[in-house]
Amino acid sequence: MRVPASSERSDPSMAARDLRPMTITIQRSKGWASLGLRDIWEYRELLGYLVWREIQGAYRQTALGMSWLFLRPIVNMLILSLVFGRMIQVPSDNVPYPLFSLAGLLVWGFFSNGAMRGARSLVANMNVISKVYFPRLIIPIAGASSGLVDLGAAFCVFFVALLLYRMPLRVEMVWIPLFTLVALGCSLAIGLWLATLSVKYRDVEFAVVFLLQAMMYLSPVIYPVSIVPESIRWLYALNPMTGVIQGYRWALLGIEPAPGAEMVLAVVITLVGMIAGAYVFRRTERTVVDLL
């Protein structure tokens, strides 16, 4: 399905819109259709509303409300520090373990929440999808992006912790948005694939929890990369989150090494996964309603 001349809808004046009559052609699309990015741009406001709905809806009628956004990273950090920092004495590259783990948790939480929401988004929004048309890609994108708010809150916690440990702000922190983007792409890639699968197989609902748990142990969230044996580092780096977490620790805390080859690999894998995921998703989306 293609919408040839629909790009002028953002024009606020009705008259201008009417001058451009558009024709929608409805027929079976063959092969790999385009990603319809223009259509998504058209509906960017909806993307904003959906992200906001995800966040707002989640915290309404909770006693702690938005405080949950701050509470979660704090509690996570405290537990990790107690268990892995104190009891198991996991090395943390000469940085206080709470800061070390929090830097990893920041981006890991963002990634895993996004991937989870993305994976569940299609089934969760079925009632809307089956009633009205809009570019379906918006749904997993909104799911994955809604974690940005959580990330912002977690960063506040991190900076407070930084202050408490009297650690300096670093110039390298300007790289954070880029690393965050890679993490977003990574969660979107996983979200897209799983959302596509979830339409046919509800097993995804359960599988996603295990998958993310396994990925967490295979990523340097609670331990440093330095304890991973050299011989399997290359395999380890195939997980894009390895590069991202390393990048975060380097930018925020100055833990060497600075991201290099791992980061490039992470970006490439993420891009491939995301674009392939988007195409697979688009292919399913045409008749997704029929599968329910």
Binding site: P21, Y49, Q56, R60, Y133, K200, R286, V289
Partner: protein, 429 residues
């Protein structure tokens, strides 16, 4: 010259239905997923057998001119909703093509995308965006939407606290203020109270006069006849008839396919019943004196039952219970209501026929279910058949004051009135 706004050319939609579903499939139901994951995995690679394919829509072609309001009628599962789903791009056709000239707004169900935790105000923006409206557009229409929905006092209340009426009003209001050239509507008027239904239909009338094209799917024949000059009747996925709505509606009604007006069991052995009684035939028809063969509010009806009495000398008699579609009993009646002697005399073994006469001007426009009862020894129910018959009573709108929408009420008796002008004191003589 008028340009077509919607051109549909041999549009078809095929569904593959699960094998286990085939026997009882009254309605097109897409793939069902069974408990066994591997069976399901295997079946998705197997080519669909002939018996698994269901054409929800087959080679449907028609054109709708710009500014035209066209009704789409047909019984449940005929393919009306599939057609709207294809036109609103919710799913893709299997073959064929449709061209829509202009922006399309679809209203397939009210409240689409509402989030219960968000307030009315927030939901207006959200559902506007889902329907493809831009923020500026919603802002421009905001006051109008709120006024139409009559929810101004509750704008900042989460919609989960709304009454169902308020919820529906708000949802319809947002959609009705969409400014698209083409509007697709599916049965949204089946909800809400009568006053609001009227308001919605009025709004639809306005929409039509603004030169916008409307495709209106409905079971409400009165609304279709009044709002749509033309109608398309869809049956078994194909266009059965297209033309002036009065004609199409009356042809559609005369088939009365969605109801069960007569059932016959030829052999006592296989007929429903028990050791006392077996049912041979049940049926409802207009009385011989009725002018029309349609079952309308103004048609006197005859409810007939024929049953075999199996045990000579048993004292049996028949009864009926009429219920609404949602199981509210409208009335019960039995063959001995007027004459207590009926049912006290023993019957010979063999076929017994009873007819009950239901006067005109009693039932409302509605679907009624009719239950058959057989009594023994005057009072004891020995046999009962739920949904023995299903009747669709229609309103031809002949009664003065009847409007587009169904009047509420389980019955709609035609009563005698006397109205006398008494004059006011001081003005006499």
């Amino acid at each position: 010259m008028v340009d077509p706004a919607v051109q549909v050319d041999r549009l078809s939609k095929r569904y593959r239905i699960g094998r286990s579903l085939v026997q009882g499939a009254d309605q097109p139901r897409p793939l069902r997923w069974r408990a066994s994951p591997f069976g399901q995995l295997a079946s998705s690679f197997r080519a669909a057998g002939e018996d698994e394919i269901l054409w929800a829509l087959k080679e449907v072609s028609f054109e709708v001119n710009q500014g035209e309001v066209i009704g789409i009628i047909g019984r449940n599962g005929a393919g009306k909703s599939t057609l709207l789903k294809l036109l609103s791009r919710i799913t893709e056709p299997t073959s064929g093509k449709a061209l829509l000239h202009g922006r399309v707004g679809s209203l397939l169900e009210v409240g689409t995308g509402f989030h219960p935790e968000l307030t009315g105000r927030e939901n207006i923006y959200l559902s506007g965006a889902i329907l493809g409206m831009h923020r500026s557009e919603v802002e421009r229409k905001f006051d109008e939407i709120v006024a139409f929905a009559e929810v101004d006092r509750f704008l900042d209340t989460p919609v989960k606290r709304y009454s169902s009426g308020m919820y529906v009003r708000l949802a319809f209001a947002v959609a009705a203020h969409l400014e698209t050239e083409i509007l697709l509507m599916d049965e949204v008027l089946a909800v809400g109270d009568a006053a609001f239904q009227r308001k919605c239909l009025g709004k639809m009338g306005d929409v039509a006069t603004q030169g916008r094209t409307v495709l209106f799917v409905s079971h409400n024949m009165v609304a279709v006849q009044n709002l749509c000059p033309r109608a398309i009747w869809i049956q078994d996925g194909q266009v059965a008839e297209m033309g002036g709505s009065r004609e199409v509606v009356s042809h559609y009604l005369s088939t009365a396919a969605q109801t069960q007006m007569e059932r016959v069991w030829p052999e006592p052995a296989s007929a429903p019943g028990n050791e006392w009684v077996r049912v041979h035939r049940v049926g409802i028809r207009p009385e011989a004196s009725a002018a029309s063969q349609l079952l309308t509010m103004e048609t006197p009806l005859a409810l007939e039952v024929e049953f075999w009495n199996l045990i000579p000398g048993e004292r049996l008699h028949a009864g009926w219970r009429v219920l609404t579609d949602d199981q509210i009993v409208v009335f019960s009646t039995a063959a001995n209501d007027r004459d207590p002697q009926v049912g006290t005399n023993g019957l010979p073994a063999g076929l017994v026929r009873s007819v009950c006469h239901v006067p005109a001007g009693l039932l409302n426009e509605d679907i009624y279910r009719v239950m058959l009862l057989v009594f023994r020894n005057s009072t004891r129910v020995i046999f009962r058949m739920d949904d023995a018959l299903t009747v669709d009573i229609t309103d031809l709108g002949t009664r003065r004051g009847s409007r587009y929408v169904r009047e509420p009420g389980v019955v709609r008796p035609l009563l005698d009135w006397e109205t006398v002008v008494e004059g006011q004191p001081g003005f006499a003589d």
